[in-house]
Symmetry: C2
Subunit: 340 residues, 2 copies
DNA sequence: TTGTACGCGTTATCAA
DNA sequence: TTGATAACGCGTACAA
């Protein structure tokens, strides 16, 4: 059973291969009944056009790339799912490439993938979306690309973002509204721009309410549960213990909850803990985590959509901001002193 | 800046394109200094061979496929990572395809991907690896494929598995060893073969120790935390409450822990809970989960390695069984009655 | 050890 | 509206 080709279809339909090609590419100048004959022949033969032949002959490959360098399974899965969903709608294939951002061959590897696979464009996820060298290299290749959550907007490349700073501020204001006054923050990985924005949002809220945001209320984390646990222990060892902790991602919040359990603190009565991202984890831990929903799937879907536009030669907005959502669960509540 | 081709390299090196091709494919019959000249030219031009041209001209595409239909981010991420790692070693590209197993177009979509991309072979993950129709269709296409954790071995396709039944038995024996006598089980999704094996392992251990394994100790779950929570509530409502629960995956175990917290039970004193898989989650919940480590990454790595052998025309063992590991954390302990 | 000529399956060009 | 033919960039068969 050898592979069916465009010649087989043409022979069966009694037309030239060029006409089959026209049908394949939805070109208008084909008579309706010719088109029907060709389509029937394709169906009868179960014909599938070769991606390789198409992209070799044409100027487009119908392949788009997704590059990531992210240790979070949930994040990567959500991004992939969103991009896959959008590709499916446009009958595009998605080529997924995992990278190692610490490797100095990173850029070479991405460019090699681009040249070898002839992808029409690239969706770039954080933290690669903030790698200036990489982005510059892509621009020199004149390859269309869309960034998800870059630290700073990049001229010439559309970005899809959420408002990290506003979201962090909302969360902190929610905690203030519960009556908390000493609210510690577990900062995210210093290499991620969103970390700075989230910490800034926390500070915004405290200062706006005339509260302190001193260094004793800040502990450095690295986006891992282990770092969150350590940071929480440091914050909770202070003389004037915070009554609430805002962790800049859910994993660190989970680590902070571990620390609270280790100290025998009852949540949320003796300590409130909030996270950020609303990963799957947030609903699986005890108590369920109050957090900010980051629309990762939607961001990837939209980014891929913008890339499709770019590839078609259409314009795309420089920045697309998607809405976040404060999700209140059981890990936060009024501070105990208020209850007494 | 137009794309560099094999002709550019040949011109710069002063040889024919055939010689460049030989160097590219590591063929032996090239004089050392000729090879060096060609390699220098390739480096100077930053030449990357076109995947499409290679697979169109040759009889191999250097592309292997990975198909999955699995809602678990952790599982998918681990599988992808293992397959990617092995591909990298052989300079293969991995084409990742997400499927919807409930869609009746499933088989058509997989075959379309195979025909369009010319993948040399396929790594098939559960539950697709137990889809008899799909496997039969692949066999008819004469496409090499390797199965990860199929329900039953399939003639002609190597499988990479772990011993679910033995692992579940070990876990149950560990709980028996702690002094538990009433050990409930939260069964996994009935469509997954591993669910039956894990439940069987639980029963093996109880029967071998002369304990009961009656229906009041079994609750049906569906591999989700929500179903685990519900199942745990059902089991814990029994007149003679179990002192330990064995959930057939970690997500359900997390749900069971939620249920225990809701009932105000202190773990592990009043109730021990064990899981299966050792996902990232296991270390992030409170108390940290005793579970069985399933070597998903390694299984995918090995499966890809076997596929590479198959594609080369080499033989591959029908079944490769990788070791699991009992990971004891804090969610299990002796039953309270023993302590008193 | 190296090179020439052809074909892989499609799109692009140009003519009919 | 349709078709003949030349690319696309590489591997393969065979020759030198």
């Amino acid at each position: 059973m050898t592979r069916k080709t465009i010649d087989d279809v043409a022979a069966l339909a009694g037309v030239s291969i060029k006409t089959v090609s026209r049908v394949l590419n939805d070109e208008p100048s084909v008579r309706a009944d010719t088109r029907r004959r060709v389509e029937e022949a394709m169906a009868a033969l179960n014909y599938q056009p070769s991606l390789h032949a198409r992209s070799l002959a044409g100027r487009r490959s119908s392949l788009v790339g997704l590059v990531y360098d992210n240790p979070s399974a949930n994040y990567v899965f959500a991004v992939q799912s969103g991009a896959i969903a959008r590709c499916r709608e446009s009958k595009l294939r998605l080529f997924i490439q995992s990278c190692d951002g610490l490797d100095d061959r990173l850029i070479g590897e991405v460019l090699a993938m681009v040249d070898q696979t002839h992808v029409d464009g690239l969706v770039v996820t954080p933290p690669l979306s903030s790698n200036a060298e990489l982005l510059e290299a892509l621009r020199r290749r004149r390859l269309p690309f869309v960034l998800i959550a870059p630290d700073v907007p990049v001229a010439g490349a559309p970005s899809v973002v959420m408002d990290d700073r506003a979201a962090a501020r909302e969360m902190t204001e929610y905690l203030l509204g519960l009556g908390h006054r000493h609210i510690g923050v577990i900062a995210g990985h210093p290499d991620h721009g969103s970390s700075r924005l989230r910490e800034a949002g926390w500070r915004d809220a405290l200062l706006a309410h005339g509260e302190q945001a001193g260094p004793d209320l800040v502990a450095q984390g690295y986006n891992t549960a282990a770092s969150g646990r350590e940071a929480a222990h440091a914050l909770l060892a202070a003389a004037e213990r915070p009554t609430a902790l805002f962790a800049c991602n859910d994993d660190m919040a989970a680590g902070a909850i571990l620390a609270a359990h280790e100290l025998g603190l009852v949540l949320p009565d003796q300590l409130s803990i909030a996270g950020f991202d609303d990963t799957e984890l947030a609903g699986l831990i005890w108590p369920p985590l109050t957090t900010i929903h980051q629309p990762v799937y939607d961001m990837a879907y939209r980014a891929t959509e913008l890339l499709v536009q770019l590839v078609r030669g259409e314009e795309a907005p420089a920045t697309t901001r998607l809405d976040h959502r404060l999700v209140v669960r059981a890990s936060t509540g009024p501070p105990r002193s208020r209850l007494e």
